[in-house]
Symmetry: C2
Subunit: 225 residues, 2 copies
């Protein structure tokens, strides 16, 4: 069966799907899309026009999965290797944190940065609004403190093993890191946890992502910084 | 085991959790919260300060579940009665539609109406912004067309039986209906499907919800309109 992911390199949800497949050793191909202008191919696959979309295909069938929630749960149900947790309570905690990083942190930080620093550049050429960038930078500190608190309690974000919660957090955080907005100083525990996950084989391809004309922050691809 | 839901009467996600428990015949108590000003009790249960939160308790343990995603999947794993679907592909479709109604329709319609017509009334007493209300009214038409298309294909929103997708759609739609913004005319199939679900025992308590000083639209509680 072939796997194609419609994705955007700096979309945390798309990154999480790449990690969820990568951790399971499933090879896949990527088809890049600009999330602010879904084309007709993407709209025919996902009427919501949103990323990521996973297309699994062989001679007998073609399965189209839309959205990180639907994709990750489908992989959990049908592929070897659980990333949600061992029991219902652990899985509930992983899912709570998935919501946190993919919705709350995204809305309060990542979406603001992407809109101001990337989307504006490729659409109306307007300059980033510094008030909004400031708000995102203030918000990220609260999330770093929360990640720090979780890590100091568990060693990871939830449960006894690496989970989708860790992967979702690094997926989102790595987008913010590309844009140079992660305040690493004073968050040594978060940095150690992040470097550990960044060093995994599944994460390596993400370190090679580049957006035309927008270079990543200096230490984005460094495994030791 | 006792069940308490921290909810807001006009929050679609809270409504969905009430329906998911109601459909399973599980009795529960409600604790109302204003979503725009989470109190210290809610924040101690859910650091995201978001609704709904489900607290399940007996003499031996206390389980706190935060967010509609975590709650609905936990109920699916631990309680009798599946509302997601029979096989992984059906469940993937249900989950795609859950995202659609709980995030996309909420963002494009419900959240705008709640902010303008309810939150402003109870916080700064500002008048609703008519431009935003117009945008929400335009957006709801697209969602009605999509629901209409899905129903005409399946009889329901997904799969062979009533699912969380139907319940999420009516949960969100019923909030918009309370506020009088559902354009029923021209959408007979949607109306029939809505009335069928509205007539279920699990839905009845939602018809009695009232917000102080904001009466529901004329036909909100009518089973035949």
């Amino acid at each position: 069966m072939t796997y194609h992911i419609y994705h955007y390199p700096l979309d945390g949800a798309s990154r999480l799907v790449r990690l969820a497949l990568g951790e399971r050793g499933v090879p896949f191909a990527l088809i890049a899309q600009e999330p602010w202008s879904p084309d007709s191919v993407l709209l025919s696959l996902n009427p919501a026009g949103e990323l990521p979309v996973l297309v699994m295909e062989d001679e007998k069938e073609r399965i189209v999965l839309c959205g990180v929630y639907s994709i990750c749960e489908y992989l959990e149900e049908t592929h070897i290797g659980s990333l949600l947790g061992k029991n219902p309570k652990d899985r509930a905690e992983t899912r709570r944190l998935l919501d946190w990083f993919l919705h709350k942190m995204r809305r309060e930080v990542t979406a603001l940065l992407i809109k101001e620093k990337i989307e504006k550049r490729f659409t109306n050429k307007a300059s980033p609004d510094s008030t909004i960038l400031c708000a995102a930078s203030a918000n990220i500190r609260g999330h770093m403190q929360y990640i720090d608190w979780l890590i100091k309690r568990h060693g990871r974000l939830s449960g006894a093993e690496l989970s989708l919660a860790d992967l979702a957090a690094v997926a989102e955080l790595s987008v913010i890191d590309y844009l140079g907005h992660v305040p690493w100083e004073g968050f040594e525990a978060v940095k150690d946890w992040y470097v550990r996950i960044k060093s995994r084989l599944s994460f390596r391809p993400l370190l090679n992502d580049r957006i035309n004309g927008v270079a990543p922050a200096k230490n984005y691809a460094n495994l030791d910084f």
